[in-house]
């Protein structure tokens, strides 16, 4: 199974529909301060079911919806789609590709889809359980989180080792 693509629309600073294709090996994301690189990382974390607004640097989940600029109006929803390929064996499904879509509206309500069919967050977690995708806190290292990883407090590193176990 591998990560094929990521599509953002109205997610944080990605106001317009934005598509990233991923390949084997190392994909670099570069650009000046504040251009949106960490927002891409947040999008991956979010579409896989992150429930904490704080982990996405916001105060409430609706903070991830494009908020407008001096020239553009805010939008009403944020949508991210992550597509995995070669899924048959890893996920035990009939499809080669599985696309996970998450939307959030201004009222804070989230919607999840698996290959365009509405589902619950629980279904996504169960689909990816044990594959290292999904709630794997350790496979997404956010900017400046080194102290958290090295912390001896059980609550800080609990999530890392729990998913690994």
């Amino acid at each position: 199974m591998y990560l094929k693509s990521l599509t953002l629309l109205g997610f944080k600073s990605f106001a317009d529909k934005t598509h990233f294709e991923f390949h084997t090996g190392v994909t670099g994301i570069v650009g000046p301060n504040g251009c949106g690189k960490s927002n891409v990382v947040d999008a991956i974390r979010w579409v896989l079911g992150e429930t904490s607004a704080k982990a996405l640097r916001g105060e409430e989940m609706a903070d991830v919806i494009f908020n407008g600029t001096d020239k553009r109006k805010p939008v009403g929803l944020a949508e991210v789609t992550l597509t995995m390929a070669d899924c048959e064996q890893s996920l035990g499904v009939d499809y080669n590709e599985v696309a996970i879509t998450r939307r959030v509206f201004r009222d804070g309500r989230s919607e999840y889809r698996m290959n365009n069919t509405l589902c619950r967050l629980k279904d996504i977690h169960e689909l990816f359980a044990g594959t290292g995708v999904g709630r794997a806190a350790y496979s997404i290292m956010a900017q400046g989180q080194i102290d958290m990883l090295l912390s001896s407090k059980p609550e800080d590193r609990r999530s890392v080792f729990e998913e690994a176990a």
Binding site: T24, G25, V30, T69, F161, A165
Partner: protein, 166 residues
């Protein structure tokens, strides 16, 4: 699951002892300890890290770069026990000097057959290791846009062989 956790923990510990030496040098030593062995699921986890030649002290006394390298060793140890199809690293290299970035990239090479890596970076050395680079800009204030995908010539031929991507 207590048994599963203890088993996972023991494996990560084993790899961490080895990976730390790989990044810091053969004379270095490191370990992972459950603070409360009797209650592994609730216990805190202590990291013991001794760079080569230095005396063992709490990791709080390590430098910014040494702490980052310790985190890199731990992270890759977890990846060895529980590989993930893809790993996303956001500016892990920011506190590292040039030689430590080289050591980090050398360790990264051992994992790229098992996982895709998505790495956000400002560092030219790390950028040159990437097979594909997405630039992100805000030509219009406040609106992000990707600009150009740069694929190294080598990566392009590998992709054609594997038939991945379009």
């Amino acid at each position: 699951t207590k048994a599963m956790f203890s088993d996972t923990f023991a494996q990560v510990k084993h790899h961490f002892q080895h990976n730390f030496r790989e990044l810091f040098g053969a004379q270095a030593k490191a370990d992972l300890m459950l603070i409360d062995e009797g209650d592994p699921l609730e216990s805190g986890i202590e990291i013991i890290a001794k760079p080569p030649g230095k005396k063992l002290q709490t990791i709080s006394l390590l430098s910014g770069g040494e702490r980052s390298m310790t985190a890199v060793a731990l992270l890759f140890s977890i990846y060895m026990v529980k590989p993930s199809p893809f790993c996303v690293l956001d500016e892990l290299d920011a506190p590292l000097d040039e030689s430590n970035i080289s050591r980090f990239l050398k360790m990264l090479d051992k994992f790229i057959n098992n996982s895709q890596f998505i790495i956000v970076t400002h560092n030219k050395r790390t950028m040159s290791r990437a097979d594909v680079i997405y630039g992100v800009t805000m030509q219009e204030f406040g609106v992000s846009k990707p600009v150009g995908v740069r694929m190294t010539a080598e990566a392009t031929s590998i992709e054609r062989q594997r038939g991945i991507g379009k």
